[in-house]
């Protein structure tokens, strides 16, 4: 299926884009992240969390929506 990946903050500098759509045929978020780390080797040593449907989820969660958001450490306020 087509999955839109969004990158925020430092991560968008690593990927040089704020969002992209890719084809993904597996089931887990961790499997999607493995593919992204092959595409962007510099992602591997970056600290980030992932959100789907606007909630943080663990990497071993099934991808349930066609959008995944990668979020670096929060630094608001």
């Amino acid at each position: 299926m087509k999955v839109t990946i969004k990158y925020f903050g430092l991560l968008s500098e690593v990927t040089k884009c704020e969002e992209e759509t890719i084809d993904f045929s597996k089931t887990l978020i961790s499997e999607l992240l493995e593919e992204l780390c092959i595409k962007y080797p510099n992602l591997i040593n970056k600290d980030f969390q992932v959100a789907q449907n606007q909630e943080l989820v663990s990497f071993d969660t099934k991808l349930l929506s066609n959008e995944l958001v990668l979020l670096p450490p929060f630094s608001g306020g």
Binding site: F8, G9, A51, L71, G76, G77
Partner: protein, 147 residues
Amino acid sequence: MSDKKIKSVFIQGAISSEFIGESIAKHQTKISIGAHNIFLGQVRADVIDNKIVAAIEYTAYEDMANAKFHEIREAAFEKFELTCMHIYHSLGTVNAGEICLFVFVSSPHRKAVFDALEFIVEEIKSKVPVFGKEIFEDNSHQWKVNS
């Protein structure tokens, strides 16, 4: 308080002292209030590797951020005896010395506003996806991490 609809807390650029003053003035008609408490987050001119932070440029995952701000509001109304609460956060560039976060809580009594304000600010820092890019005076930058 499910009747409180989700509204955006984001303001483009710095939060002005006029805006803060007007916000306080608007509460003079709410005469059940006996205590206000205000937190103002200000951009600090940190010195990192001999370079001075001139500004912070804020971005956010806005949909999730507004949902999280809403959850924090609901939780605060649930936990503390509050009459009203306002949260504003900057997006875009805020220069050192300018205000980037304004949290304003009001209650009949002081204890509730002291406790609520700390709760709300800590929740914002840890749960809301906002990202600060520290811009140095030489235009280089680094991404801020909350301590």
